[in-house]
């Protein structure tokens, strides 16, 4: 074989790896029944592909070839071990017995396997941080080092977390399946929550290499796209919309030095129109199902904001109405705070202030810096400088986030000038 031909095969294998490795892994986990063995089998299958495809040509269905090769590699590996424990011996026997023609592996099965993998990695019986790590590793294909760097953790700590999670999957026998209708809402919530946590880690991170963390937001959006493709439930659409609408403002929401720019002060020409259009369309689709939940409503609120050509044109009446819906779906003091701010925009600062004061009296938001920052802002709008200063100082005392601290300090400085 010529050097060029060899290069060509290697490039083909690399391309197949990028496009198919997660699908193949998802199926191998199902047929082998063990995460670690499946990962080893995946890598051995790709190693074998480099040799065999160079000799025999690229197979018609590379995916099926890899699944088949991976399965044989797993059988070999188990057999090679000197001492089999009971469960491994069982796996080897079963794999050997299943002499099914791999060409019959349907594309539909492979897609279902990807969904199984997502639901297993986000199983609520696993600790939340492990769900996140496992999802990024197994579903997105990030390395342990990449995930550790993004979460500012020691790779060994993260690796241990993954080992423990895989151990629980095996020992407690967390099944590799898409949940049935009864359990689906709760289990889907758990998947959506993991995706949203990954997104927020990338979106609102205040420390660490910003480039790496930006990738987390992209990864979350990619995950949500995959989920929507596999399981187009209204809240999956809603979450994807919400993330796209937030992400559309990325380049406008901070200065080059990392200082926050409030929505009303952002340069709207920097907003990503394609993301806004896609997000808006997804929201409409989610709301039309009438089975929407909190993600869809939050996305609808974000859509109303970005649809305004300038801050003064924001439809606050509609935003208040959407917060009313959100409050019914998911009552929380933070939603009430946001609603109070929207009411201040609709009816004037006094109306918002009395609502925020009532909320603070309840006590739950007393330690929440944004409640005091919102209150300070309303005092500022009313020209009550002394009250504003006290409230900004209270907010400042409650936050550790560097960009927020700088923002509050700027506001305080403006008040005394």
């Amino acid at each position: 074989m010529t050097h060029e031909a060899e290069q060509h095969v290697r490039a083909t294998v690399d391309a197949v790896y990028r496009a198919e490795s997660r699908r193949v892994l998802a199926t191998l986990i199902r047929v082998i029944g063990d995460f670690d063995l499946a990962e080893e089998a995946l890598h051995e299958a790709f190693r074998a592909a480099v040799e065999q495809w160079a000799r025999d040509g690229v197979p018609a269905n590379p995916r099926a070839w890899l699944v088949s090769a991976g399965r044989f590699k797993a059988v070999d590996r188990i057999r090679r071990r000197v001492r089999l424990n009971a469960s491994e011996a069982e796996i080897a026997d079963r794999l050997h017995a299943e002499a099914e023609d791999i060409a019959t592996v349907l594309d539909q099965d492979l897609e279902d396997d990807r969904l199984r993998l997502i639901f297993t990695c986000c199983h609520p019986a696993l600790p939340q941080d492990a769900q996140i790590a496992l999802t990024l590793r197994e579903v997105c294909g990030l390395t342990t080092e990449e995930i550790a760097r993004a979460f500012l953790m020691a790779p060994s700590t993260l690796a241990q977390r993954i080992v423990r999670a895989k151990n629980k999957i095996r020992v407690a026998r967390i099944p590799y399946e898409v949940p049935g209708r009864d359990a689906l809402p709760e289990r889907l919530d758990s998947v959506l929550h993991v995706i949203y946590l990954v997104f927020n880690e990338g979106y609102s991170a205040s420390s660490g290499s910003s480039l790496m963390r930006h990738d987390l937001s992209d990864e979350a959006i990619r995950l949500a796209r995959l989920l929507v493709e596999l399981l187009p439930e209204p809240e999956a659409l809603g979450l994807l919309a919400l993330m796209l609408l937030h992400e559309s403002r990325r380049s406008a929401r901070a200065t080059v030095d990392g200082d926050l720019i409030l929505l009303e002060d952002q340069d709207r020409s920097l907003w990503d129109r394609a993301m806004i259009a896609e997000g808006g369309q997804l929201v409409t689709q989610a709301l039309a199902t009438r089975r929407f939940g909190a993600y869809s409503v939050q996305a609808a609120i974000a859509a109303v904001h970005v649809e305004a050509a300038e801050p003064g044109k924001t439809d606050w009446r509609q935003i208040v109405g959407l917060y009313d819906v959100l409050l019914r779906l998911e009552p929380s003091p933070i939603v009430e705070l946001n609603r109070a701010v929207a009411i201040a925009m609709r009816d004037g600062p006094e109306a918002g202030l009395s609502l925020i004061d009532a909320l603070l009296e309840h006590g739950e938001l007393e330690k929440y810096h944004l409640a005091h920052a919102a209150r300070a802002d309303l005092f500022r709008r009313l020209g009550r400088r002394a009250d504003a200063r006290v409230a900004y100082q209270r907010a400042l005392a409650l936050t550790q986030l560097e960009p927020e601290r700088r923002f509050l300090e700027r506001r305080l400085a403006e008040l005394s000038s």
């Binding site: 019986a125 020992v171 407690a172 026998r173 967390i174 099944p175 949940p179 359990a183």
Partner: protein, 118 residues
Amino acid sequence: MKYLALVYLPETEIQKMSVKEWDDLNAECIAYGDSITTSGHRLGGEALEPTNTATTVRVRNGKVTTTDGPFAETKEQLAGFYFLEAKDLNEAIQVSSRIPPARLGSVEVRPVRQLIRK
């Protein structure tokens, strides 16, 4: 696959129940126990007397010491257990979620570990 479902209840809350509420809860537990025995999910299980009847036994340096009460002070106390057969954790969770006291306390689902004879 075998699992043990450990049922925990806040004893102080249970003591506040009326006789009727307590009887109803027990009747509900009996009915549910029967139904999952019939379905093949319940291999065994019992309700327990409250923790003020518990004794903790330890052996240290060959010497037995006994103390009054459970070994740890907790908000919810072990009130009973179900020995379950389920095909996987999802099925065990599904069966455990319908145990009546799950509404009042919590149910810890643990896979049974096989002791291996060497």
